[in-house]
């Protein structure tokens, strides 16, 4: 009997706090998002009208396309560069040097995202470090006020967004270096020994040994990358606030602006609902493709 009471406390108390303060609100977004309201929420007016409004709003597509670009950027560029670096770090280099490199690459991951965002905001000032750097390597013609002037490179992709991408990659790639390094450590050394005996070239070694072992990892990390790209708010908001105009808007900034600038919280919760669904779907798809869906 005493055991029953213990079991009850062990589960009910921790779980209910979680339920009340996190799970229930997140689930209620589906009700909130399908009602029309602006400041006082209502659950009674369920209709598809808010969805229609959202899907005919060009700002929604702008934001989502930017999110998808971030996803593409993180899954291919961030993971790609991180993979190369993690691979290079496996070469025979002095252990001390490796620790130094690893620590340095990991630094941005541990520093507050807001601090980093403000750091980049400062570097992108017209007379800031970034432009100075460009001038010093002879690319001075590219110097510009990165966060306030808009030059379109291709549809939905302007110079402020490019600036954002650079900052984001700088920040996050170190985390993936750590993850890939941990994963590569699992590859049995004997494969490499056999390859050495067979006299395989570097490229073949990569293709036949490293890449196949890395594939499942790539999917796992992609899940991280995807959910991170859809969550992104802190970095974007503190550098550009989604601007200028909408050139760096993402789902998060769109939602925030609707809720707290236009004071249209009902619409904002519709955005939240759709983002939650999209993010959830993408994670499920990744899990399925990596074969880890339970």
């Amino acid at each position: 009997m005493k055991d029953k009471i213990t079991k009850f406390t062990f589960i009910v108390l921790p779980f209910s706090i979680y339920f009340v303060f996190f799970l229930a609100p997140n689930l209620s977004i589906f009700l909130l998002g399908l009602n029309e309201w602006d400041i006082r929420p209502t659950f009674l007016n369920v209709s598809l009208a808010p969805l229609k409004r959202l899907f005919t709003d060009p700002r929604f597509y702008e934001a989502i396309i930017h999110n998808l670009m971030l996803v593409f950027n993180s899954v291919f560029i961030q993971l790609g560069i991180a993979f190369v670096i993690a691979y290079l770090l496996r070469k025979p280099i002095a252990k001390m040097l490796k620790t130094v490199f690893n620590t340095i690459y990991f630094l941005p991951v541990a520093i507050s995202l807001v601090a980093i965002a403000l750091l980049w905001k400062w570097m992108y000032q017209p007379s800031g470090l970034f432009n100075i750097l460009l001038k010093s390597i002879g690319l001075g013609s590219f110097a510009r006020p990165w966060l306030s002037s808009v030059t379109t490179i291709f549809p939905y992709f302007d110079t402020p967004f490019l600036a954002l991408l650079i900052g984001i990659n700088w920040t996050w790639f170190g985390m993936y270096v750590v993850l890939f390094s941990a994963g590569m450590r699992e590859i049995p050394q004997k494969y490499f020994d056999a390859a050495k005996i067979d006299g395989l070239s570097e490229l073949t070694k990569i293709r036949k040994i490293v890449l196949p072992s890395i594939k499942p990892l790539w999917f796992s990390f992609s899940i991280l990358a995807i959910s991170g790209s859809f969550k992104s708010f802190a970095f974007v908001w503190n550098t550009t606030m989604g601007g200028p105009g909408n050139s760096t808007s993402v789902a998060g900034t769109f939602l925030y602006r609707q809720a707290f600038r236009s004071l249209d919280m009902g619409y904002a919760s519709t955005i939240g609902m759709v983002v939650a669904i999209i993010g959830f779907l993408m994670v499920i798809i990744s899990l399925k493709r990596s074969g880890r869906l339970f």
Binding site: F15, L107, S112
Partner: protein, 274 residues
């Protein structure tokens, strides 16, 4: 001939690694350098050495940052404390006992891993408003607990699931109760996991921005990320002060990362690389 090509390749590899390291550490170095310059120079000549070394930025920003550090400390300790106390209890129960509704509880506990904080901020804000917990540190602590509870349960449950069931049987033979087994065996067993979890959660919660932004209105209650953001925002502080604020929050982290680099990296890769 082989020796030469090897060291040539070696140099290129080191070159690449060093270049990337410089790219990473460069901005941080210049950030810190510029905190010692007067604001006028910070914007006009960020690259050069200070004309005169000054601590005025730090002096100006300190009152704000001190309040923010205290708030963050309070919230982080509160949340991480709850996260070290409760999720192991749940994981233990899920791994080692059966009861009605176990599947549902498991599913719901792990479901939260997929939740996207940005999407759910509004209902959470409305909830806290109704409970009069808006703009309080306690409210924020409870929300952070809810946010990271799923990951905690997941990681510890995986760990408990990997333990051989004979341990439980042996403890049963010794006549230990449910609570007894937890206290004497299974909680101590999870210590290494809990340490890694504690480090990870501390970093996440300390740096959390979005929820804190929505749930705290009073600048006296701001956590560190919020304070930095308000200093650096549209109507914020002069740049020298902003950089000093950033510097104050970055420097401790740099020190922690330098000394705990291995643990941090291990904690981060656990659960993803399995």
């Amino acid at each position: 001939m082989k020796e030469r090509t090897n060291s040539y390749k070696y140099l290129i590899i080191i070159g690449i690694l060093v270049t990337i390291a410089l790219i990473i550490i460069g901005p941080i170095f210049f950030l810190i350098l510029n905190t010692f310059k007067p604001t006028s120079e910070v914007l006009t000549a960020p690259f050069s050495l200070p004309s005169h070394f000054t601590l005025e930025n730090y002096a100006q920003v300190w009152p704000y940052m001190k309040s923010a550090f205290l708030s963050s400390l309070k919230v982080t300790i509160g949340s991480v404390g709850m996260l070290l106390l409760f999720p192991p209890m749940v994981a233990y129960s899920l791994s080692f006992s059966d009861f009605r509704g176990k599947r549902i509880i498991t599913l719901m506990s792990l479901f939260g891993i997929f939740a996207i904080p940005v999407a759910g901020i509004l209902p959470i804000m409305l909830l806290l408003k109704n409970l009069n917990l808006i703009n309080t540190h306690i409210g924020l602590i409870l929300v952070y607990y809810g946010l990271y509870y799923p990951i905690g349960v997941f990681i510890i449950r995986e760990y408990y699931n990997s333990i051989s069931p004979s341990l439980w049987e042996a403890a049963e033979i010794d006549g230990l109760s449910f609570w007894g087994k937890y206290r004497k065996i299974f909680f101590p067993l999870a210590k290494p996991m809990l340490i890694a979890l504690a480090i990870l959660m501390t970093v996440y919660i300390w740096n959390e921005y979005t929820l804190a932004l929505v749930l705290l209105n009073d600048s006296a209650k701001y956590t560190v990320p919020l304070m930095l953001s308000s200093l650096g925002g549209q109507y914020g502080a002069p740049w020298g002060m902003r950089l000093a604020g950033i510097g104050l929050s970055v420097i401790p982290m740099v020190i922690i990362v330098t000394f705990f680099s291995d643990e941090l990296r291990r904690g981060m890769s656990f659960g993803t690389v399995q």
